[in-house]
Amino acid sequence: MSEREFENYLALLTRLLRLNQQQTSALSAELRAHMEDRMDELQSSGVSHEDAVRQALAEFGDAAGLAHHFSDVSLQRKRRWIVRWTTFSLAAAFLFALGLITFWPGRNAAPGIAAVVAQAPNANAQPAPTIVQEIKPGPLPGTRKSASARIEEELNKTTTIDVVEMPLKDVVLYLSETHKLPIAMKLKFLDEASVPADTPVTKSLRGIRLATALDILLEDLGLTYYFNEVLFITTPADAKHRSEVRIYDCRDILAIPTAAGDQPDTLSGGGPADFSPPPRGGRGGFPGRARPESERRAEQLIQIIKTNIDQDTWFDGGATYRVGSISEFNGLVVITQTAQTHRKIEHLLSMLREAAGLDLAKAGPVVR
């Protein structure tokens, strides 16, 4: 326990309150003065420095609670702001719709401003449709991305957790605020696992990916997470049931020509032939397209995934239910797994591509 802890507390509080720089420093200075006064008093009555910090901090109450009290104060002002903002957004949406109607290609009788602009530079050149075409029908940018895809993206961003004895729920709130992610704790499961929401957490993790930070943080508590629009913190037992199907386009790794007919980069040395031959059978060849070599590679790839990633989570036809299943069709690998295992698989595949000298940018997409 040290003064640094109080600074962390202030940082969390001001983040939760979404204060600007000036407000942050004013509130921090005010609370810091109080903290120092209190510590002086405690220490002059014979309390040790460390205990004084601890006690003074405890008297402030948890940051989430304090933030809640403060936000009650500004609620009235915020509401006014929201009304103003909503009005503004409606006006903006209206203007945007108006723009769409005006510039819609082929819809308007008059050429419209965009078309005029596009043709202006050179009258006898091909009509340059760039400006007109940029306004496309369909969802607005940003709305297209699913909530889960946004979580996935955020999990890859770096984060910093530096807390001492902070209640888990505050840490979660902090991460939720700093990453602007919906995070929910499944309290029923947490309680069953005897990990209450106020379990104190002490961690110092800097500049690592949020996914890794969550893994480290939660593993210590015997917890894990999964996401489906919301990032849920729960027990491994609960998360196990939350599997999802993803399709990995591995035609580049397996050297199978894509539908477009172009020959993909091939693996140097004819593929990963050093692995022991996997068991055959079960796979019927596809009529007219016998590709024993690529089939063999697909079996090997499946084997590589199953032996290197979360070995005990793959269903093997045995009596025990296991969440993972994997199969391949024409270079498309279909996998049912938890989100965490999926991420590991994605990582392994990009490592394979890198090792084989394949262009990562040309790698096929993951369909989910």
């Binding site: 005010e30 109080h34 006064d37 008297e59 009290h69 104060v73």
Partner: protein, 117 residues
């Protein structure tokens, strides 16, 4: 030392207590907290987590105003009553006295005997 006052009892009069502490001059948060504690013989312990949000609300409502200075060797935010705050204090004090009289009268009618504390 007697127990702390019940929370719900304090809740309704907290603002009045803070305004009255500020009636005799400007003070910073820590002093306000200390004065309330002393006046109540430690039966009202105004937590920082309650006091500062309250002070900020009073300021937002224009009942107190604040200023910074470090005359005491530490950068502090001092609060003082605005004319509106003084007016509010007087009006609330009147209400409070009437309310206390009302409760006292009901208790007298109920013939409740209070053991000396």
């Amino acid at each position: 030392m007697a127990d702390r006052f019940p929370r719900e009892l304090i809740r309704g009069s907290l603002e009045l207590m803070v305004l009255s502490v500020l009636a005799n001059g400007k003070k910073y948060g820590y002093l306000i907290q200390k004065e309330v504690r002393q006046a109540s013989d430690s039966r009202v312990d105004l937590a920082a987590g309650t006091l500062y949000p309250l002070l900020h609300r009073l300021e937002a409502d224009g009942l107190v105003r604040s200023s910074w200075d470090d005359d005491t060797g530490r950068q502090r935010k001092w609060y003082e009553l605005t004319p509106r705050g003084s007016k509010k204090l007087n009006a609330d004090a009147r209400d409070w006295a009437d309310y206390a009289a009302c409760v006292r009268q009901l208790l007298a009618a109920a013939k409740i005997r209070l053991a000396p504390t």
